[in-house]
Amino acid sequence: MAKKYDFKASELPISPMTLTTTLENPTGGWRSFKPVIKNKTAPCTATCPTKVLIPHFIDSLVKGDLDMAANLLHRNNPFPSITGRLCHAPCELPCNRGKYDEPISIKQLERFVGDYYLDKKGKPPRRETGKRVAIVGGGLAGMAAAYYLRSKGHEVVIYDRNPNLGGYLRYYVPEYRLPLAVLDAEVGALERMGVKFVLNTEVGKDIGFEELKEKYDAVILAHGSSAPANPDFPGVELLKSGWDLMKEVREGARPKVSGKVAVLGNGYTAFEVARVLRRLGADPFVIYPTAKIRIPFSDREIFTLAEEEGVKFFFAKVPLKAERRNGKVILTVAEWDGKDIVPATEREMEFEEVFLAYEGTADHGFLPDTIRTDGTLKADRRSGETPLEGVFVAGESVSGPSPVVNVIYSGRSVAAAVDAYLRGRTYTPESMPEVVGYERIVTDYFPKAPRVPEMRLSPTERIHSLTREEVLGYTQELAMKEAERCFNCGFCNACGNCYVFCPDYTIKWVHGRPKVDYEYCKGCGVCSEECPRGVIDMVKEREF
């Protein structure tokens, strides 16, 4: 017989009491979907040719850490003060904020952070690899490649035939678009990093290409595409060079030009030459081969500025003949349908002067035949690899005329390929995680706010100066205000929403970041739904 258990009432608690916690229930087993915290790609970054880490650097800006912002920005763009002024900003087109009110002024934020950091940057690498790279051409492409290769610890020597670095940016882009002081500061940073320059030295004339190849572990060809390429029509030799004009003006000359002048060209440079002529006091007309709607997006901003300033345009027209009569230039033009001259549309026009501003072409004359086919370089689009071992190409020398940001990307990706080559690794082009669409943004968390306008001089103010910058940068206050508008698409900025709303307290806050405790997470999906920026995905746990 069982022993009767004898107890006193006082030995027991006065009411039933709990003895343990619910931590004994691993409720993670209830889950059908699991939350995965994973940064994605913002549409702006996806569209930026050089893949600037836009939500990342803007987040640091919002948090007031300007040095970190600069650091993140420079990861994929060594020259934000240049892109912040010259880039056509394709990144702003798909900006998710644009679907809500107005896109973020990414370019201005880039300029603000770039300018803040301009005199601080330029640290030598921590370790030297002992590998040596020669770069032919110190334009933007060569400079970008030098920046990244030097920061990886390689010895970098830039050869340029000019007395200073910058290429187009130094000798042709007008001061009102890009002050020389900015370019000089970027060059100064390269110098501080320990990049070596061999100036006034033309490869193929003052030093042979073969010699470079022998002396260095790798050679990057970044010689641009600035050889003149004018169309051939009778009298073309009577016309002036728009390029020379740009160069003179950049160097400080102010040639007298007045009255009706024409600019012949097939791209961006024609618009810029016309703008310079307008500032010199002339009444310029651009004669442009395609229809107005065919102006590429990258050239549209400059076109609009030129139009505002009173530059006039003749679209879909090509020159057939030029003559000089009584001190004037008589230009015969005809309509152009994109393939042929439209019959019976010839017409004479009279100008004081006509300037040629056709886009240049690359001169590969100093290179061996093995690297060329019919005058063009054979190279991989991303890595810049050529059929010659250890020889790579970057920038306009391979792409032809291109916007600055594409040239920067070329320099950056070729630098990555060269770095891989020097270390005996295979180069893998960078991949991007999936892009976060507008539907993933929880706009409830963002009050509507208009874009902080960029401050641009009025057309009348603009045409009165060849040196005053036409766009003024943001102040810190304005930059902060604009930065706060950014959704930070796909980039966890540690906002804390997921932590605050988790009904199971299974999103823990570890070292300032959210972390899922899968032992208990029931997979409700609230975190994913309330993450304002699409960072958390719900992934199927199992098939049934």
């Binding site: 004994e24 409720t27 906002c495 605050v500 997979g523 609230v526």
Partner: protein, 315 residues
């Protein structure tokens, strides 16, 4: 700084263990987590029969890291009153006693005890987490169930035909020192109100909107979103009443159409199929909101700029 960190500190007063027994996405657990972030360890919860009797864990388990006293369905206010008295006798005046009850336990069966405690101005905090039905027993209607909603006792053929009982007015009529509505979708607002409540002596009441995904026939990930839409459609306004007289609206909603909120939830399927009823509810929401705005105006003598956009008729 993100809005969330204005009132919340990471890893401070996280006093609810995981592993509790709430359904996925339960608003009532978000509610308790946030409340404890303000109250800290020096608090006692008194929980009458409700989902929370279960959520806290089956014996011998316990999810909250503070003492919880489980009590009978109708007794939250009076049990809390008793615990308050006992703690006071022991000199433990700094411990908050919180009656934590569902809408059924508050609007219906617990109303008598609540009214008594409110009238006596007992020094307790009464928080009703409102999921708009008797969820624990299988989704039966309560007097908090909103107009047009399905429950198992108001099926699709004859959905709830009476508007939700206005508890805040009942509390105002008791002239309690502090009464407020709050929503789990606006933690900053809720936390500010609860902080304010802790600084007041006497009977304090918070009507806390807490969605119930299964009871509302809604996916679990939508609980915060639905709570947010209830506020932004003016269906559940966020405001406070001091001393039963001074009304203050604490969040000016966007004034979205009520369908935006109804669309997320299967329980409103009958309304969505009935345009007349939908229009009626929209009108009802507008008039209730306008009344509230006028009370705010009467209390403060003016209306802020944001108020204008939320009102249809000229003011």
């Amino acid at each position: 700084m993100s809005w969330a960190w204005v009132e919340v500190k990471p890893n401070e007063n996280d006093l609810m263990h995981p592993g509790h027994l709430a359904c996925q996405g339960c608003g009532a657990t978000i509610a308790a987590r946030l409340a404890l972030k303000v109250l800290g360890r020096k608090a006692v919860f008194v929980i009458p029969a409700s989902c929370w009797s279960v959520i806290d864990g089956a014996w011998p388990q316990h999810a909250l890291q503070i003492p919880v006293f489980h009590t009978a369905f109708e007794t939250a206010a009076i049990a809390a009153t008793g615990i308050r008295a006992a703690l006071d006798m022991k000199g433990k005046h700094d411990v908050h006693v919180v009656a934590w009850a569902g809408d059924g336990g508050t609007f219906d069966i617990g109303l008598q005890a609540l009214s008594g405690a409110a009238e006596r101005n007992e020094n307790i905090i009464y928080i009703t987490y409102d999921n708009e039905a008797y969820m624990n027993t299988g989704i039966q209607r309560s007097s908090s169930t909103p107009l047009g909603a399905w429950t198992t006792t108001t099926p699709d053929e004859r959905p709830e035909d009476k508007p939700k009982k206005n508890m805040m007015e009942i509390l105002a009529a008791h002239r309690v020192p502090y009464a407020a509505t709050a929503s789990i979708a606006y933690p900053d607002d809720f936390i500010r109100k609860l902080k304010k409540a802790t600084q007041v002596k006497g009977f304090r009441f918070i009507h806390l909107f807490s969605p119930c995904p299964p009871g509302w026939k809604m996916a679990s990930n939508l609980s915060v979103r639905s709570a947010r839409l209830a506020v932004e459609t003016k269906i559940f306004p966020l405001y406070e009443i001091e001393d039963g007289e001074v009304y203050t609206i604490t969040h000016w909603p966007k004034g979205l159409p009520v369908e935006e909120y109804f669309k997320l939830q299967g329980r409103f399927k009958p309304v969505l199929k009935d345009p007349d009823r939908l229009a009626y509810i929209q009108r009802y929401v507008e008039t209730q909101w306008e009344k509230l705005v006028r009370l705010h105006e009467a209390s403060h003598g003016y209306l802020p700029e944001e108020a204008r956009a939320t009102i249809r008729s000229a003011i």
